[in-house]
Amino acid sequence: MNEKFPLTQEEAALIDRNEVGPSNLTEEEELYKENIIDHYKYPHNTGVLQDYTFSRREFNPLCGDDIALYVKVSSGEISDISFVGKGCAISQASISMLTDKVKGMQLKEAKDIKREEVLGMLGIPIGIVRMKCALLSLKALSRGIEQFETGGQDEEAGSC
């Protein structure tokens, strides 16, 4: 039996299979490792704040990503922020980076953070399917702020 993949020589030339080795990470993979994996393995601002002003939980059924965000507001400023989460590296790195970014920021300013800014922080290309993972953090933050401003409360947040 011919188990070899029957490619023409031209087709075979297109393929660079040697790179699929466990050694030597490419530049892009190094970037992934530095940007994403570091935050994933050693996330910043984790835990439940004792005296949070509002909280918000968001869930992404695709990956099973689960984020509970705790925000302390003092005179219109996010004076402290934390999260408890589980899920894929993209979602967890994203929330870790976002909490770093908004700590000390005016609530008004935090409300205006654009999707592009979050994607920029991640620093790697995010495909359409992973967009939900990457932006779950922003969803939690903006919905949390909205709910806080309209006086609602997220009852689920404590259970993450």
Binding site: K4, F5, L7, V20, C63
Partner: protein, 412 residues
């Protein structure tokens, strides 16, 4: 693990029949191993559909002109091809848009005869499509829903099945081959249990019919559902097989054109089988495509198709189980399973893993595989799954293994 049987691979050259597989992804040859989700289409299937649209396209069962006659012949012939493929009669083969729709048809039509307190038996390894319709029906009508649990080596607990299937049971609906675990269930035995208790037996064959010889007479099921796109055919065409005498008594699911015999302002009577269950203009080109796909599979031989799957699966199980931190979620022996191989990798989320694998041209699925209750029963969030078909080679598995090693490196 070693290949225990004298399994043979299909001729590797058949990959040339699939134009889509000749491309590169991220500079790498596409190693497509997400066949549990959908399969690629051979040129013969693409040609059959193109040919239909270029030469024969018309609505079926309506016009008496040449084109309509040709379209009708092709569409009806497709029913015949499917019927012979699974050992059924022509009038027992109903075309739907998917296996999901077939199951919804059954839940609606069979469901209308059920009474509060009646019981439905499913298993813990059902796809959402064979769970949610029954679950919602049970809520509406006050029925009890019971689940056959999973025991060691990811098999169904047949002793529990004997206790759960009782004279109160009206419907037993079980997946033939799990899309997550790869487990092949003893549906023949379950059909005996169902019938001994006066219950209908439904088999979800979405993962089995494409991969192994399946004969409805031999299994003695009352219903079998599957979809075309998981067996080299296009999307938008699914099959419901039902025993003629049962289908005749069932009420239609969708109402409209073609499914009627006579309509007045007050009343309607129904068309003969199978048309009674095919309201509206059907997916004609897709039916033509399905027939072409079945021809293709029959040329290979379904026994050979299954052997090929098992060969690649046993090779994959052997190679994957050598990776540190990798756990196979499914039967370890190929005697009880097919070619869907799920696994977890310590420290790497399945979605991150499948994204990294994509960089090497490897297409696998990461997630809950539309079986969230199963995931929770296994205490998992998700798995990565490689699922094989006729065009996969040992080399595909090698690329997968190398990719996993690379992911481990990145996540170290």
């Amino acid at each position: 693990m070693q290949v225990t049987k004298n399994l043979q691979l299909l001729d590797g050259r058949l990959v040339n029949d699939f134009p889509i597989l000749k491309q590169t992804v991220n500079g790498k040859r596409l190693a497509y191993m997400d066949n549990g989700a959908t399969t690629q289409k051979p040129q013969e299937v693409i040609d059959a559909m193109t040919n239909y649209y270029q030469k024969d396209n018309a609505n079926v069962h309506r016009g008496v002109y040449q084109l309509s006659q040709r379209a009708t012949t092709a569409y009806e012939h497709a029913h015949d091809v499917v019927a012979k493929f699974i050992g059924a009669k022509f009038e027992e083969v109903i075309f739907t848009k998917s296996a999901t729709e077939s199951l919804n048809l059954l839940a609606y039509s069979l469901g209308s005869t059920l009474k509060p307190g009646d019981e439905i038996v499913l298993s813990q390894m059902e796809h959402h499509s064979n769970l949610v319709p029954w679950q919602q029906l049970a809520k509406e009508k006050g029925l009890a829903l019971k689940f056959i649990p999973i025991i060691e080596n990811y098999r169904l607990d047949m002793d529990a099945a004997k206790r759960l299937i009782t004279p109160k049971t009206k419907i037993v609906s079980i997946v033939h081959m799990s899309n997550v675990l790869g487990t092949i269930n003893n549906v023949k035995e379950l059909a005996k249990l169902a019938h001994a208790n006066g219950s209908f037996m439904i088999i979800d064959g979405a993962q089995s019919v494409p991969h192994m010889p399946v004969n409805v007479k031999e299994l003695d099921c009352d219903f079998l559902v599957f979809s075309g796109h998981k067996m080299l055919a296009p999307t938008g065409i699914g099959v419901l097989y039902g025993k003629k005498e049962i289908l005749e008594k069932m009420k239609p699911f969708l109402y409209g054109g073609d499914m009627i015999s006579e309509v007045t302002f007050e009343n309607s009577t129904w068309n003969d089988l199978p048309w009674k269950f095919e309201a509206g203009t059907p997916n004609i080109a897709e039916a033509v495509g399905l027939a072409a796909a079945i021809y293709y599979l029959q040329k290979l031989g379904m026994g050979k198709v299954f052997e090929h799957d098992l060969f690649i699966t046993s090779y994959a199980l052997e190679k994957l189980s050598q990776i540190d931190g990798l756990k196979i979620i499914g039967p370890s022996n190929i005697d009880e399973r097919g070619g869907a191989v799920s696994f977890t990798l310590e420290g790497v989320h399945p979605h991150d893993l499948s994204e990294i694998l994509d960089r090497f041209g490897v297409a696998v699925r990461g997630g809950h595989h539309c079986a969230m209750p199963l995931m929770s029963a296994l205490k998992l969030n998700s798995t990565t799954r490689a699922s094989f078909y006729v065009y996969n080679t040992k080399e595909d598995v090698d690329i997968l293994v190398e990719g996993i090693k690379k992911a481990k490196e990145i996540f170290k």
